[in-house]
Symmetry: C2
């Protein structure tokens, strides 16, 4: 503790000058653009103005960077969707609001790169990391399972709920493959179109 305090003496506690955060942001962007395997730690270092060996002062390994990016991505989406849904009792209204929050976290400037890693790089994780990511994803998806259960009870949905959840989240998550930030449709418009498709109208 003393030794570590000395190294960070010139800065407030818990703040490493944000170099760690810079690396994560660059890694997230590069992972999304080129994929985890095709991104080199040298790419990441160059993106933040470091030499090739320096990212390893902040992260034990490239896999550790990926895990950090993914956990950040899941937390952003979970927190933002949970906050948006809080206090909305009507399941149809909650669906519309949660779809919008999911899309804004998925495509918005803050979380886009992190979310993309969550959705497309699970394969690259080592077993222990995959288990942790899987558990956190499962916790988030519970929000949707509960909602869909209420919608079915209200007569707004038919059929298998687990399958329905996978199809709905699939439609939303697939947007990371085609969405263009310069295009006409923004996150909210996409979410609303999905709500229209699933519920028949906007609540």
């Amino acid at each position: 503790m003393k030794a570590r305090a000395a190294a960070a003496a010139a800065r407030p506690a818990g703040d490493d000058g944000n170099r760690r955060g810079d690396i994560l942001a660059a890694a997230g962007r590069l992972f999304r653009e080129k994929g985890f395997k095709a991104t080199t730690t040298r790419d990441i270092a160059a993106a933040v103005g470091m030499r090739s060996g320096s990212p390893f002062y902040h992260f034990k390994s490239k896999h550790d960077m990926l895990l950090a990016v993914m956990l950040d991505g899941i937390r952003t989406i979970h927190d933002s969707v949970e906050a948006a849904a809080a206090g909305i009792a009507d399941p149809r209204q909650r669906f519309a609001v949660m779809a919008r929050a999911h899309m804004q976290a998925l495509l918005g400037p803050g979380g886009r790169d992190f979310a993309a890693a969550v959705l497309h790089e699970t394969r690259a994780l080592e077993p222990a990391a995959a288990a942790e990511v899987g558990a956190r994803k499962g916790a988030y998806e519970l929000l949707w399972s509960e909602l869909l259960g209420e919608l079915q009870a209200a007569g707004a949905l038919r059929g298998d709920l687990a399958l329905t959840r996978l199809l709905i989240l699939g439609a939303l998550n697939w947007t990371t493959q085609w969405w263009d930030p310069a295009g006409e449709a923004g996150p909210a418009a996409i979410a609303d179109q999905l709500t229209l498709l699933v519920l028949g109208d906007l609540p």
Copy 2:
């Protein structure tokens, strides 16, 4: 032509003993399981019982293998969905049939590995190959655009058609990320659930 005929003299024309096809099948499976970048040409060679340099007797490069896998995947899906839709005038019935055909081509034993490459490895293509793949994907998606136009004219859909097509195909294509061949729901059941979600009932 004469020179090529000599090399294949011992076999029927157009048949190279299926070694080329073996390589493509192994490459498709490995690309799906590990991704293009994480699959080595040595992995592919080993999977068909060859030495490391031998796949390059059949393909000019690893990128060429990927392109061949992807074009095969698009052709399989396009042909099979087009054949299934032929002669079905009612758009609601055609939707159900096309969704089933799409899912069977996407997850079935014949095309699963090839389709996964189409959906997840576009990033790895070189520009010229990406243009060709993009054009063929566009030709396939026209089948869906026409169908959705008819559905909207019949009052079964509302809102933006391009967005709706992307969401519907997204829901279907995302299945490659979670579908388990050993699970309960098969391709047809998944397709039917999507039809239920979009049309409100099964036509």
